[in-house]
């Protein structure tokens, strides 16, 4: 804020200047964490490759009928990672698979965090019997084995990418709901909320204008950590044959590999790359999430390097 007169010209410009300031502060602190930068860099590269997939390998890489190679070739100059049982290039499939893993991971995490934030803010704001009932339901979901619930949902619904997103999203929100509720209670006990109520702010105003901006940092950290969980769950569901059969995904590639007998015939070059890719993306998101968490809450004691 260099010019006070300019910043004070309207409340919204003042608010924006403050937001810009806090983002800059966040970044200054984030970039001192070497592991966080490493995770962010890895994610940038993977996202770029996924976005450029049509340019890099072309759209016909998934076609079974006019596959370029012969079945189950070892890695060679033409196919750097070898070919699958239909003769498709594994490198091409791996690059296409990044798209589905990232899409499902991001959307499922967004869905789960959205549900969790909504439930948490409502339960924290309204309190009373409503809060008790909602938190009981949350606790119940927290106790449920997430993977089993997701598997069951994916089994009883039709096979599609949306089913997978839904199954992961509706089973993994309770942690966020608990954290957001605690934060909402902390925010609402501050005097300025009382002032806002006295000035005539309704429930909606308090929740969206005062509580929501205050829980956003927490929500951001939860989302980043949730994505790696979602990506692992997506791979698991696809491996169990519960994913969309028409879409190439890393978990699905591993299932194909197992069905093609890659394990008993020792074709490690078929099995290794998809798993490494899953682990790499999940690890990158975990590193970013832990860094975000420790920037926003230095008390957690995550090492800075």
């Amino acid at each position: 804020m260099t010019s006070t007169a300019d910043a004070l010209s309207s409340p919204s410009s003042l608010a924006w200047a403050r937001r810009r300031g806090s983002v800059a502060r966040f970044w200054r602190s984030y970039r001192t964490h070497r592991t966080g930068l490493l995770g962010l860099g890895a994610l940038a590269v993977i996202a770029l490759v996924a976005l450029a997939a049509p340019l890099l390998v072309g759209g016909d890489v998934q076609s079974v009928t006019n596959a370029p190679g012969s079945a189950l070739d070892s890695p060679s100059g033409e196919f750097p990672l070898g070919t699958d049982q239909f003769g498709r290039s594994l490198l091409g499939l791996l690059i296409w698979g990044a798209r589905i893993s990232l899409t499902v991971g991001l959307m499922a995490a967004a869905l789960s965090v959205a549900i969790g934030t909504l439930v948490g803010i409502l339960a924290g704001h309204f309190g009373g019997w409503f809060s008790t009932v909602v938190m009981r339901i949350t606790d119940w979901f927290l106790v449920m084995p997430t993977l089993v619930l997701a598997i069951v949902l994916a089994t009883v619904m039709s096979r599609s990418v949306w089913t997978v997103i839904l199954a992961i999203g509706v089973t993994s929100w309770p942690t966020t709901a608990r954290l957001v509720r605690a934060q909402t209670l902390a925010v609402e006990s501050r005097p300025y909320i009382e002032r806002a109520t006295a000035l005539g702010g309704g429930h909606g105003h308090i929740m969206t204008r005062h509580v929501l901006p205050n829980v956003m940092p927490l929500v951001l950290a939860q989302t980043t950590l949730g994505i790696s969980h979602a990506i692992l769950t997506e791979a698991t569901l696809a491996f169990l044959g519960l994913g969309d059969p028409d879409v190439v995904s890393w978990g699905g590639m591993l299932q194909d590999a197992r069905e093609a007998g890659a394990v008993s015939s020792g074709h490690w070059w078929y099995l290794a790359p998809p798993g490494i890719a899953i682990a790499l993306v999940a690890l990158a998101f975990t590193l970013c999430g832990r860094t975000v968490e420790s920037v926003l809450n230095p008390k957690l004691g995550v090492s800075t390097r």
Partner: protein
């Protein structure tokens, strides 16, 4: 997360946390009554949770997939009369609430209907597979809890040092690895064999079949090595991280400074004073992990063809054999609820500050 962190123990000049509060009979009787009240509350909560699992399983499998009879007869020519008689046979012509009460009554007596693919009662199929799962996952949980506690303690005590960085990094990496993939790689490397590595372990199953007595035990142990390694590798990170952060919380405490000031060796300060206090959150973790193991073993049992509940679940999914999936869902969720209950009941005994 100030709500999650533990408060410094009060008046604890390096005392071990007392398991049973001793004192005059008055406060003791009161605290016993408080504990009974606490137990009753937790038991009631668990009963409600179990009932909610029954409700969920009933509606999940009856409402969402549409007509169960149509699913059962999928791809076969059936007349309208056959459909009607099947409906009667499964009680599907009754009103929903009556179906529900029937279902609950049967489920409570362990009857989950008949499996589509094995044509045997679901309850029997499940009961037969329980020991194998308990054996595999029990051994794995004991090993990875011990490993996680040990490495977590070391990490926190020397936090920021090279050992801490390497250990935390390795744990986080293994945590990000899909367990089924790690299992497949272990099979390829140590069962099938790559290059100079010979195939040392069986590719799957639990026994070779012809051994008895001590040889049988050795045979099962031989089959268990790879699945246990997989479960441990993927699982120990969580225990490590919880132990590490809870010990780090304790490390700034005044009572540790006092213990050092009184001249105790570093090793004793850690073993006698810091670790027992830091163990509390980790104990809850171990119990929750025990609840998770049945569900968590689905992938590992599938990959290693281990004849347990997880493998059965996979077989049921691929059909899908809805009664079997439903029965296993209730068992997995029930195990989780019971383990949480045990953790809740044990916690106030370990930490007198809770639940009083």
């Amino acid at each position: 997360m100030s709500t999650a962190s533990t408060a410094p123990p009060r008046g604890g000049y390096g005392r071990r946390p007392a398991l049973v509060k001793s004192g005059p009979s008055g406060p003791r009787a009161r605290s016993a009554r408080a504990y009974l009240l606490y137990v009753a509350g937790k038991l009631g909560g668990a009963a409600v949770s179990l009932f909610a699992v029954l409700v969920t399983s009933f509606f999940l499998f009856r409402i969402i997939p549409g007509d169960p009879v149509r699913t059962m007869t999928h791809g076969r020519q059936v007349s309208a009369e056959q459909l009607a008689s099947l409906r009667r046979q499964f009680g599907l012509d009754l009103p929903v609430w009556q179906q529900f009460t029937d279902y609950c009554a049967k489920a409570l007596s362990g009857d989950f209907g008949t499996s589509y693919q094995f044509h045997a009662p679901v309850g029997d199929l499940i009961a037969e597979k329980v020991p194998a799962t308990l054996l595999l996952t029990g051994v794995a949980v004991v090993i990875y809890s011990a490993l996680g506690l040990w490495l977590g303690t070391r990490s926190a005590w020397h936090h920021g040092g090279p050992g801490d960085k390497v250990s935390t990094g390795v744990a986080l990496t293994l945590w990000s690895v899909p367990s089924f993939w790690l299992g497949l790689l272990l099979i390829i490397t140590f069962s099938v064999g790559i290059g100079p590595v010979p195939g040392m372990f069986p590719t799957g199953g639990m026994e070779s079949g012809d051994a008895s007595g001590f040889a049988y035990v050795a045979d099962v142990a031989h089959h268990m090595v790879l699945p246990v390694i997989t479960l441990v590798a993927v699982g120990y990170a969580q225990t490590l991280l919880v132990m590490r952060s809870s010990l780090l919380d304790e490390m700034g405490s005044d009572y540790l400074t006092t213990a050092r000031a009184k001249g105790l060796r570093d090793d004793l300060v850690r073993r006698r004073h810091a670790v027992p206090n830091a163990l509390l959150p980790t104990v809850t973790m171990v119990f929750i992990n025990l609840g998770h193991v049945a569900a968590g073993s689905i992938l590992v049992e599938t990959v290693f063809s281990w004849p347990g509940l997880g493998g059965l679940f996979y077989q049921a999914l691929s059909v899908p054999d809805l009664p079997l999936v439903q029965g296993l869902f209730v068992v997995f969720a029930g195990a989780m609820i019971v383990m949480n209950l045990l953790a809740d009941l044990l916690y106030p005994l370990l930490d007198p500050r809770v639940g009083r």
